[in-house]
Amino acid sequence: MNELSGLDRRLTAWLEEQAPVREPGGLLTVVTDKVARTRRLPGWLMSERWIPMQTRAQLGAAPRAALVLALLSMLILATAVAGAIALGQAPLPEPYGPARNGSLVYDEMGDIYLADASGTNTEAIITGPTFDHYPFFSHDGTLIAFARGQDSDLTSMVANADGTDVRELVPHVQWAEFVASDDQFVVTRYVDGRLVISIVDVDGQDLHDLDVGAIEPIDWVQSRPTDGAEIVFRGHPFAGSSALGFWAIGTDGSGLRQIGELGTLEPETGPLQDPVLSPDGQTIAYWSWEAKDGGSLDAYVHVRDLTTGDDQLLDLYPFNDTGSGPHFSPDGKSLLYESHSATVPDYDQLVIAPVDGSQPATPIGPSFDYRSRQSFDFSPDGAKVFLSQVNGTTVIDLTDAAATTTLPGIRSVLNWQRLAR
């Protein structure tokens, strides 16, 4: 950016000269008249959601959970009673690793919906005047968590996978995630204006904070696979610091430790973005905006050992300038992330690369307009990738590269239920 500073300055001056701020003649009157004839919409009807981009990405990328899928779909088609019984009897998947693909959960206009894996047989499971969004399954698929409320004041909620027994867990949350055992929930939440890390039972009882000393958590928090004994989080070493790092702490509050080196937030760098833990709990993947080998700024994917803190920069793709991701495959062997399309100007493209760098990354699915992308991830069985966009979701079969559209018109972030194999 420094080498372009001459153009930057000239551009700013030219833009200011081109568009001096003045009231356009008559437009104020036109707008005022129109507003006078326009009715307000109630808040819960808003399709326009004002939520910080990071929060949206975090909640959307949050958990990849578990349980009863095809069975649930059939049960939904049958009767709720029969479904509930069958759910109770179904075997549960392991909390991490490949699982069978189950139902899809998503939100639409403030309500929560279920659909079967093909995007059909949709059913509203949580409705009413409240504004509910960003649903995701627990690791074992028996529960659904979601956010209630709008904008910057979200409350974490939990319900059974069929939408029954809705209960409030924690208000003022920034990030929420089931712990590995699915009997507790870990969140970052605002208390007296600052974020703290808290753990609460999924029945809403025993809410308590973890003492992380001077460290200032900023958003992301995740239960470390596979036993969930540690909580991994991102934050500043102290309030007001421009340094950024990863830390881990035991769920009992013991053993606070820093994971690897700190990064520094500067105008030209953005370290430790979009972190995600590997299914085996050994590493954390993230991307950083940085200059590699003194070259031009770009986005690079890293993998960091959670035990030793050793950090490895992955040279995955000739143009790995990415704005989102990465995600581990269920078996932990591959990474899925967003890069720039090699074929369509100004569009983006999902790519998959082996974590060990043994093969170059492979583009998958269609190129897409980055502005319409909501989220993407692997299916629980690892055989598919879904790409949620504002106009629907594309499911890409990794065996034959076939791309199909599901749930057209749904402006939502999807989450896929995990079932026992």
Binding site: M1, E3, L4, G6, L7, D8, R10, L11, T12, W14, L15, E16, Q18, A19, P20, V21, R22, E23, P24, L27, L28, V30, V31, T32, K34, V35, T38, R39, R40, L41, G43, M46, E48, W50, P52, M53, Q54, A57, G149, Q150, D151, S152, D153, P267, E268, G270, Q273, D274, W289, S296, L297, D298, A299, D321, T322, G323, S324, P345, D346, R371
Partner: protein, 187 residues
């Protein structure tokens, strides 16, 4: 922006909203004019954004975010307005792409001698979403985080696209500078 005014408008006070409109309409229209490069369509987009703001104001929880929220509505209104002439975008995009292909990255193209007409051409060749990025960052002077929130894309992507867009403009300026030379060669 006056927090009290925003809170009153959120509570349904039309006079408060009119005052907010009066204070913001000039800048909103200027931004729309830069993004759309058309005065009439900029007026349409500004009008759409402000009416949408009134309709949806109860969705805003934090009064302090009113200005950013309004800009987001405006940028989206500009996208919709520009989408009515999508064909023109595509052509403009291809021109920009061709110019990028000519650009030897890292070489100073002699920006200092670029005159206003050249900047006008280079800017007009950008697609509306790229112009929105440039306007938010260089005209309004918004930091990357706020630009990211208004455009609905991650901060890293804002940085990436800013870099590529300014490179594209630089390449476009350089391509313009080469045109007389090509003409002489052909002749």
């Amino acid at each position: 922006m006056d927090r009290d005014l925003v809170e009153r408008a959120m509570a349904g006070d039309r006079e408060a909203f009119t005052e907010l409109t009066r204070r913001s309409i000039g800048q909103l229209h200027a931004v729309a004019r830069l993004i759309l490069r058309d005065n009439e369509r900029a007026e349409d987009a500004t009008q759409e954004a402000l009416v949408a703001a009134w309709r949806q104001l109860s969705a805003l929880r934090d009064p302090d975010r009113f200005e950013a929220w309004l800009r987001r509505l405006l940028v989206r209104a500009c996208y919709r307005e520009a989408g009515k002439t999508r064909k023109q975008w595509t052509i403009a995009s291809r021109i920009g792409q061709a110019a990028t292909a000519l650009a030897p990255l890292g070489v100073d193209p002699g920006i200092a001698i670029a005159d206003h007409d050249e900047l006008e051409r280079a800017f007009s060749r950008l697609t509306p979403d790229r112009r929105a990025l440039i306007v938010l960052h260089f005209y309004l002077g918004l930091p990357l985080q706020e630009t990211s929130e208004i455009l609905g894309i991650p901060v890293g992507t804002v940085k990436s696209r800013l870099t590529r867009t300014t490179m594209q403009m630089r390449a476009s300026l350089e391509a313009d500078a080469r045109l007389p030379l090509r003409g002489e060669t052909t002749a």
